[in-house]
Symmetry: C2
C-alpha cells in the first residue's frame, strides 16, 4: 500500500492543493492460473474496477444490487460491503460478496471471479434441436416452408466429366482441358477458384482424369469451387448458424439430401464482454475491440462448433461450401467484423441491412475458403437477421390473417402483419425471461421450476420441476416465473403494482423493508438456499412483461388497430416451449385473445437460416420479406414510454385490455 499524492491544478477540479489518498493493489483471479492486477483507490466499487481491468463479471442488472449475479469470492484483504439477501451467512463467512456492493476499504485485496462463460453455459437451455420435441417442431416448420411452393435447391451444381489424358501432341494445361469439357457440357466457361486449381493436377491423375466438379453461379459467372475423384464419395455440405447474443446453435447439412448430419451449440464467447448487445457495442468501440469480439464469436465459438460437427459427420472442413447465418443486427456486425458503434447512437444506423459477397476466407471460418456466407438481412438497429429468418419460419407471410410473431430471447422482437404488410420493432425486455435480472432466475435446465400453481388459501405453491423424478428446485426459469407471478397475482399475494400484500410464513421482509415470497424453503431446495421472489424481482419482471406488451400495443396503435385484430400469435425462442399462455395473458404480457390462436415454433432463427441454406428461393424470400417490412424504432417513438408505464401493472392500468384476467 502506498500513499499517493497528486497535485491537482486549480480550477474546476476538486481541490487546488495537495490531496493524499489510498491506492491499493486489486488482484482478480480469473482462472486457477491467470490473474489480472490493477490499482484502485479507497471507495471504488469492485464491479467498476473489474470493468476497468477488462475482467468480465456477470452483472445483468448493471450493478444495482438486484440480480445477485455478480458474486465474487474474497481470498485476501477486506472490502466494505453491505449485507445483502443474495449471500447467506455461511457464504459470507466463506468470502462471497457481490462485486456491485463491495467498495475498496483500506487493504490490498485478492478476489476470485467465477468464469462467466462456463456459468452461462451451465445455466443455458439452448434451442439447438437437441431434443425430440425441438426436432419435431423444426420438421413441421421445414414442411410448412417448403409446402408453399418455395423450392429447395441452390446455385451449387455438380458435373462429372471424363477427360482424355494428355499426350505430347495434346499437352494443353490441366485447367484448360477441364474447362473445355465443362464448357462443352454446361454451355459456358467456368472461372476456377484458387482452391480448385491448386488441387487439380494431383486430383486429375489420381482419378485417371474422371472427376466431379462443383460449380456455383455468382454475379453471372460460373465459378469452379472444387474438383474430386468421381469414383470417391464426397459430401457437399453447408452450415446454418443462429448467432444469439447468449448462445450459438448450428446445424451441418448435406446439401444433396438436405438432411441435418450434425448439430452443435455453444455459449457465445462474447458473453465475457457483456450480457447484452449494448455492452458488446461499448466494448467494440475500445481500441482493438471489434477484432476481439469478432475473434470471440468466430475463433472461440463458431469454429469449434463447426469443427465438432465436421468431426462427428466425418467430413473435412473444406466440404462446407455454403453458410447461412442469422443473428441480430449487432451480432451480424460483430460476426463480419464491422463497427456496430452507430447502432446504439441516435439516429441508430447500422452499417448494413443486406450484405452479399461475403466468403468464408473473409471471416476465417473453417470451411472451403470460397464458401459463400449468406447473412439474413437486418431491417433496423434492433431487428436483425434472426427475426427476418424467423419471419420466414413463422409462415405469417402466407396468409391474410393478422398475425403477431414474438421472439423472446435476450431482447424481445415483434413482427406484426400478414401477407399484405409487416411491421417490426424490438423492445429491451431484458434478460428476465432467460433467468437474468431475477435473484433466483435460471435457464430451463435441470432444477428449474417451469410451472407453478398456488393454493389460494394456504399460499402454498405446487411446483413443476425440470429434471429426473425427485429433482429438487434450484431456481425459476422463464415459464416458471410467468406462472408464479400469475398465480401470486391470482391469489392476491401481490397487488397490481407487484407489491406483496399478505403476511405469513412464506413472506419475508428484510431490514430495508423489502418483502419477498418464498417459493421453496431452504430445506426443499437442491442448494439448501431459499428460493424466493423479491419485490425487486417482481419489479424487474413486470418491467420486462410491460416492455413486451407495450411494444405490441404501440405498434398496433400506430396502425390504428387494437389487439382484437390478431388471430394468430407465433412464439419463438428458448422460453416458448414451456410457456403457459393463459398465465402470460393473465399478467398482461401477451394480448388477451383466444389461447387457441397461440403457437410455438422453437428456434425460428435457426429454422430460417436452414431454409436459406438449402434453398436460394428461401433466401430470396427472406430478402423480400425484409425489404417489405417496416421497422419502428421504439426508443424514438414518443408514445412508447406512456404505453410502457401503463403496462407496468398487473395485468395493465387499462383492465379492459385484459377481460379474461378481469373475469377471475
Amino acid at each position: 500500500m502506498r500513499i499517493h499524492e497528486l497535485n491537482f491544478v486549480s480550477g474546476g477540479l476538486p481541490g487546488d492543493g495537495k490531496v493524499g489518498f489510498m491506492e491499493h493493489k486489486i488482484t482478480f483471479k480469473i482462472s486457477p492460473t491467470e490473474s489480472v492486477e490493477i490499482t484502485a483507490v479507497t471507495g471504488e466499487k469492485l464491479l467498476d474496477i473489474a470493468r476497468k481491468a477488462n475482467v468480465a463479471i456477470d452483472a445483468p442488472c448493471s450493478g444495482n444490487g438486484s440480480c445477485g449475479k455478480c458474486r465474487v469470492k474474497l481470498l485476501e484483504g477486506e472490502v466494505e460491503s453491505r449485507k445483502t439477501r443474495h449471500i447467506t451467512d455461511e457464504e459470507y463467512a466463506e468470502g462471497w460478496r457481490l462485486a456491485c456492493e463491495s467498495k475498496i476499504a483500506d487493504s490490498d485485496i485478492v478476489v476470485e471471479v467465477p468464469d462467466i462463460a462456463s456459468a452461462y453455459r451451465s445455466r443455458m437451455k439452448i434451442a439447438d434441436l437437441s431434443d425430440t420435441r425441438e426436432v419435431e417442431i423444426f420438421n413441421t416448420t421445414k414442411t410448412a416452408i417448403f409446402g408453399t411452393g418455395i423450392e429447395t435447391g441452390t446455385a451449387l451444381k455438380t458435373v462429372t466429366v471424363q477427360l482424355t489424358e494428355p499426350t505430347l501432341d495434346d499437352a494443353m494445361s490441366d485447367i484448360e482441358r477441364l474447362g473445355m469439357e465443362l464448357e462443352a457440357q454446361l454451355g459456358e466457361s467456368v472461372v476456377p477458384t484458387h482452391f480448385a486449381l491448386a488441387k487439380l493436377p494431383q486430383t486429375l491423375r489420381e482419378a485417371a482424369f474422371n472427376v466431379t466438379c462443383l460449380c456455383e453461379r455468382r454475379n453471372g459467372a460460373l465459378i469452379l469451387l472444387d474438383v474430386w475423384n468421381a469414383a470417391e464419395a464426397h459430401k457437399i455440405c453447408g452450415a446454418a448458424i443462429d448467432i444469439g447474443t447468449t448462445t450459438v446453435a448450428a446445424v451441418l447439412v448435406d446439401l444433396e439430401t438436405n438432411e441435418i448430419i450434425a448439430k452443435a451449440s455453444s455459449g457465445n464467447g462474447q458473453i465475457r464482454y457483456g450480457a447484452d448487445v449494448i455492452n458488446r457495442i461499448i466494448e467494440a468501440t475500445r481500441p482493438g475491440g471489434i477484432e476481439k469480439l469478432q475473434k470471440a464469436v468466430i475463433e472461440e465459438t463458431i469454429s469449434p462448433v463447426l469443427l465438432n460437427m465436421c468431426r462427428s459427420a466425418g467430413i473435412p472442413k473444406t466440404n462446407i461450401y455454403r453458410f447461412a447465418v442469422a443473428g441480430n443486427t449487432t451480432m451480424n456486425h460483430l460476426f463480419t467484423g464491422v463497427n456496430p458503434e452507430f447502432i446504439r447512437m441516435e439516429p441508430y444506423v447500422p452499417a448494413f441491412m443486406e450484405i452479399n459477397g461475403l466468403f468464408a476466407q473473409d471471416m476465417k471460418l473453417p470451411a472451403h475458403p470460397n464458401a459463400e456466407v449468406i447473412i439474413a438481412p437486418n431491417i433496423g438497429s434492433y431487428v436483425g437477421g434472426d427475426i427476418t429468418a424467423g419471419t420466414l419460419a413463422s409462415m405469417m407471410w402466407t396468409s391474410e390473417e393478422m398475425a403477431l410473431f414474438i421472439d423472446l430471447g435476450t431482447n424481445g422482437e415483434l413482427v406484426f402483419g400478414s401477407a399484405d404488410f409487416m411491421m417490426s420493432c424490438a423492445c429491451s425486455a431484458g434478460p428476465a425471461f432467460e433467468g437474468g435480472d431475477i435473484s433466483c432466475g435460471m435457464r430451463a435446465t435441470d432444477g428449474a421450476i417451469e410451472s407453478c400453481t398456488i393454493d389460494k388459501d394456504t399460499y402454498k405453491p405446487t411446483l413443476g420441476i425440470i429434471g429426473p423424478e425427485g429433482q429438487k428446485p434450484i431456481g425459476l426459469c422463464g415459464s416458471g416465473l410467468i406462472d408464479t407471478v400469475a398465480e401470486m397475482f391470482r391469489c392476491g399475494i401481490i397487488n397490481p403494482l407487484g407489491k406483496i400484500s399478505i403476511e405469513g410464513e412464506r413472506v419475508r421482509e428484510d431490514e430495508y423493508g423489502m418483502k419477498s415470497y418464498v417459493v421453496a424453503f431452504a430445506d426443499e431446495s437442491d442448494t439448501g438456499r431459499e428460493i424466493a421472489l423479491t419485490e425487486t424481482d417482481l419489479d424487474n419482471f413486470i418491467r420486462a412483461k410491460g416492455a413486451i406488451f407495450s411494444a405490441v400495443k404501440t405498434m398496433l396503435e400506430s396502425l390504428d388497430f387494437s389487439v382484437d385484430i390478431i388471430t394468430k400469435v407465433i412464439i419463438a425462442g428458448g422460453i416458448g416451449s414451456g410457456i403457459n399462455i393463459k398465465n402470460a395473458i393473465r399478467i398482461g404480457m401477451l394480448p388477451d385473445i383466444d389461447t387457441e390462436f397461440y403457437s410455438y415454433i422453437g428456434n425460428s432463427s435457426l429454422s430460417g437460416a436452414y431454409a436459406m441454406l438449402i434453398s436460394d428461393a428461401a433466401r430470396d424470400k427472406v430478402t423480400e420479406l425484409a425489404r417489405n417490412m417496416t421497422y419502428m424504432e421504439l426508443s424514438s417513438n414518443p408514445g412508447y414510454m406512456d404505453e410502457f408505464v401503463a403496462a407496468c401493472f398487473l395485468p395493465h392500468t387499462n383492465a379492459a385490455l385484459f377481460p379474461s384476467a378481469s373475469e377471475e
Copy 2:
C-alpha cells in the same frame, strides 16, 4: 563415432549377413547461430549429404566438379577430397573444399556452408530499373507499347459522393445510403467487399459523409473495393512483379498517373531449393514442398519487396489494388501454390496457361485483400508469362517483319514471328550467361570483365571491367565471356571444338591434361587468384551457345525458313545490355545477320507486367498474343538433338551459316 550394425535381409541387397560400417556426425553450420546435424557413413559425398539434410549448397553443375561453386569450409575433422583447380593451396590450408569432391572419411566433421541466397544476391545483376540506362530502355518500351493504340486505364474507377447524413426519419444503413448514391451516379448497384464494409461506418463519419469510393468491374458486377475521406489524399497503387528463377524485380505504380513511385528487387528465396526450375519442381514434390516453395517466394521474397516499396512510397499496403505478375511457367505455379510436378514429366503438362480470378488474399500478399492478381499467361511447360509479357514489350506483334525475340535468363526462351503468327520454344541454355557453370563466372557487377579483346600475336587480352576507375577484375560476366571466347577463337587460341591449341605463358595444363587460358594473372586480379577459362568452361559455354542457336535453327526449320528471313532480333534479360553482338555471331550463338537488326529491351518481363498493370487493353493483348502463339516442345522434337550437336562447334559445323565469321 559409433559402429553401427545393420542386418540386411537376404535377397537383392548388398549382403545377407551382418555388415559393420562407420557412421559419423556431420554438422553443417548454415549461419553463425544455426546448424544442421545429420549422420552419414564413410564414403558418402558431402554434397549428397547436404541435399539429404535439406542444406542448400550452390552447385549449378550438379556436382560434376566443373563449376567450383560448391565450396564449403571444413572447421573440424577431415574429409577425403581430391585436389581441384578451384581451390588454391592457401584456401585448401584454410579448410576450403568442394562439397562435390569431398567424401566422408573416418571422423565426424563440422563444415561451414556459405549462405547461397546472399551469395546469389551479391553475384547478381538484376534488371530492376536501378540504373539510368535501364530506365531509359523501360521508358522507350512503354512509349512504344502505348503508341500502338493500346490505351492505358483499368477497370478501377473512383467516384466521390456527398451523402445526406442520417436522421431518425432517415435511418437507412450506411451501405444502403452509400449504395443508393453510387447507383444514382453509376447507373447500377455495387457489391461491397468485406474490406470496404468493415471500415465504412467510421470513414463516413470522419469524412462528414463525403467519401471517395474505389470500384472495379469483375465478371459483370461492380465491386466496391475501398472507401475513404474525400478530403484526404489517397494513392491508388498497383505492383508489377517479374518473378525470375534467380531474382525478383518489382515496381510500385501510381495507377492514376502510371508513374513508378518505388522499385525494389531481391534474390528469389527459392534459390536454396535449387538453382533451376527442374530442381525446384523436384523439391516441390516432397511432402509440404509446394507450401515451402510458395512461402519462399511470397513470404520471404515478394512480401518484403512490397513492404519496402510501400514504406519508401509512404503508402499503406492496402493501397495496392492490383498486381500484374510475370514469371516462367514453374514460377507461376509455385507463386500460386499449384503443383508443378507434371511440367517436367512427359507429356509436359502445366496445371494452367491462363488463370483469372486470383486475389491477394488467396496468396497472402500484403495488399488490399481483394486486389486482383493478374498473371501473364503461360503458353507451354517451359515458355511462361515472362515471355508472353515480354513479347508485348518486344513489339514484334506490330509489324510484318520477321522478328526473333530472345530472353536470356537462367533459361533461354525464343519467340519467332510477326504480326501474322508467332512460335515459341525454350532451351536449357544453363546458367552460363549468368556466371554459373563457369569456374570464373560471375554476374555483371563490380569486378566483372564485361568486354575483352585479345592481341593476335601476344595472346594478351585487353579487358573492360565494370566498376570504378582502377577496379581489378574478379571474374567474367556473360558479355565478357562471349567476347573472350570469340577473341580466343579469332586469335586461334582455341579450335572450333573449344580446345586450346597454343602454348605459352597464358596457357596452363593441369595434372589431368586439362588446359586453361589465363585471362588475368593472380597479381592482376582483385582476389589474388588467377582468372582463367578452362576447357571445361569452354565446353559448358559452347553447349550453352549451341543450345540457343540450335533452338533458333530448329524453330525456323520447322517453318521451312532459314535465318536470312529474320530482319529484327530483340534481346531481353540481364545479359543483353553489354553484349557484343558481333562477337556473339562470331561464335555461332546468334544468327549471322546484319548487326543493325539487333536491339536490346532490358527486363521485358517486368516491362510487360507493368503494361498489364496499368492497362486492361495491354492485359488483353498479352492474352491474345499468348493464345495465338504456337509452342514447340524442344525436348520432344526429334531434330533438335542433331541441331544441338551441330551447333556445339565454333561457330558451327556448317560454316556456311556464319559467313561473316568465316570471312575473317
